[in-house]
């Protein structure tokens, strides 16, 4: 019973990381939620094979990868872009080891470093859910320039979060 509670808690906490991992492997965001659902069920069915003395996420990712490969098998060829070798090469982001709530807290702090314009662009993209052509019209720049801005903002936020977490670790180490 206790094992079940812990297992569900780990599976729940792993949802964000699994989603990111599946999306990266699939190279297709349209079916990510479906694959994640199937992965959850698969993980649940395989719960008895999990060794609690080992980290949960790598084990869950291995099962997620199997689901992605199964999804690829069922897919029409023209939607497949990454070959199996490229999938093997995709590296894990260092942030995947960090607790999701901590990442989100660091993201909130990092967002404060953006200019008003940059924040406005993110809001148009993620709240109003505008696509690149609409964003380009709203901000009076080319589609390429808008895509580039979004790319850089996300990259900047990632760097900022990583640095913030490194600093926190250093402070923890000093105490």
């Amino acid at each position: 019973m206790e094992k079940d509670v812990t297992f569900i808690s780990q599976l729940t906490k792993a949802q964000f990381e699994l989603k990111v991992y599946i999306a990266a492997l699939a190279c297709d965001l349209q079916d990510v939620d479906d694959i994640l659902q199937e992965t959850n069920v698969y993980i649940w069915r395989k719960a008895d094979t999990y060794d609690p003395s080992r980290p949960f996420l790598p084990w869950a990712k291995a099962l997620a990868k199997y689901q992605v490969l199964r999804w690829r098998k069922d897919l029409k060829r023209d939607r497949l872009v990454l070959d199996d070798t490229a999938i093997e090469l995709l590296a894990d982001d260092a942030l995947s080891e960090v607790d999701h709530d901590v990442q989100m807290l660091a993201l909130r702090r990092s967002l404060r470093q953006l200019t008003d314009d940059e924040f406005k662009l993110l809001k148009s993209k993620y709240v109003a859910r505008k696509r690149i052509p609409e964003l380009a019209r709203e901000f009076h720049v080319s589609e390429g320039a808008i895509a580039s801005r979004l790319f850089r903002i996300r990259k900047f936020l990632h760097t900022s979060i990583s640095e913030m977490l490194k600093m926190l670790r250093r402070q923890d180490g000093e105490q």
Partner: protein
């Protein structure tokens, strides 16, 4: 923001991938770059991670506001709880506590899927009994098997004269009408059900509760059976909030913590919800608030769940 060196050729295909508009040309161009360069693969992983993180951030921020996000959230919850307590104790007026959710991409559930809503185990089959038994005040030895009864853990409620339940009382099958306040019961081995008045529930047995009207929050550390709009379902290791209208129009169930598995293998995760109409039609949706906020909202007494059709 620094002008970090980025592969400009990656930018457009990446953006198209993220907003779902990537065609074959973009996708192949992306794949080509990914297979060639490790730094591009790292950028690709970073972009996907931050895309989902920002989606999550803004879906929460939309409900609460950017500035002082966390403090505002906590403060709003405290004000809400304080307000509800005052209203509950000093007035019989009711504030409409509406919970906003967005229509889910998940297709509507079939009736059979919903019937099979379960976590680890299917519902055990309990006999449908009458609710005529009188309240039994627990005294050591007064009940042959007190462990099988439902125990009142906490109460801040005012019930009709002669029907008041207090902490430590153990009850068997009974209808409970809670005009105001809150009452928590222990059900099953480790489950806790909190009823927020005005609400009416029927206690069928030590593990089964029928929610007739009002807001009920269930933390099922083991299996708890619920009867909603005439349907029986079992939840296990999962916390859910339920809002029943009482007039038979609709009943809502939202998972706040854990994962509930459906019969066909799909899952309801935290923030996923389902509406059961009086005709038995089922509609899936997703809450805009996170688990913590949902927990607080249900304990403060949600009276209505409103499905927003568009995210924009």
């Amino acid at each position: 923001m620094g002008n970090n060196d980025i592969d400009e050729g990656l930018v457009m295909p990446m953006e198209a991938l993220l907003d779902g508009s990537a065609d074959v040309v973009f996708r192949k161009s992306l794949a080509e770059r990914l297979s060639k360069d490790a730094s591009v693969r790292m950028d690709y992983a970073v972009q996907i991670r931050m895309h989902y993180a920002l989606e999550e951030y803004f879906s929460l921020e939309k409900a609460v506001g950017r500035k002082g996000f966390m403090w505002l959230k906590v403060a709003a919850m405290l004000v809400l709880l304080a307000g509800m307590s005052v209203l509950a104790f000093y007035s019989h007026r009711r504030v409409d506590q509406c919970l906003y959710v967005s229509a889910s991409d998940m297709p509507s559930l079939t009736a059979s899927e919903y019937d099979m809503l379960k976590a680890r185990y299917f519902a055990e089959h309990y006999e449908e009994g009458a609710f005529s038994e009188q309240l039994v005040k627990y005294e050591p030895g007064a009940i042959e098997n007190p462990g099988a009864a439902i125990e009142v853990l906490q109460t801040s409620s005012e019930m009709a004269a002669g029907h008041q339940l207090n902490e430590g009382d153990r009850v068997w099958r009974q209808d409970i009408d809670l005009p105001v306040g809150q009452m928590s019961f222990r059900v099953g081995a480790q489950g806790v059900v909190t009823v927020v008045g005005p609400a009416t529930v029927k206690l069928h047995d030590e593990k089964t509760i029928e929610i007739v009207s009002g807001c009920v929050y269930v933390e099922a550390n083991r299996t708890v059976s619920l009867i909603l709009a005439g349907r029986r379902l079992s939840i296990d290791n999962t916390s859910v909030g339920v809002v029943a209208r009482g007039d038979g129009t609709a009943c809502d169930l939202i998972v706040t913590d854990g994962i509930a598995l459906l019969g066909d293998g799909r899952c309801l995760r935290a923030q996923d919800g389902v509406r059961i109409s009086a005709k038995g039609e089922l509609q899936a949706y997703r809450s805009l608030g996170d688990s913590q906020s949902l927990h607080g909202r249900f304990l403060a007494g949600v009276t209505n769940v409103r499905i927003e059709r568009a995210v924009n």
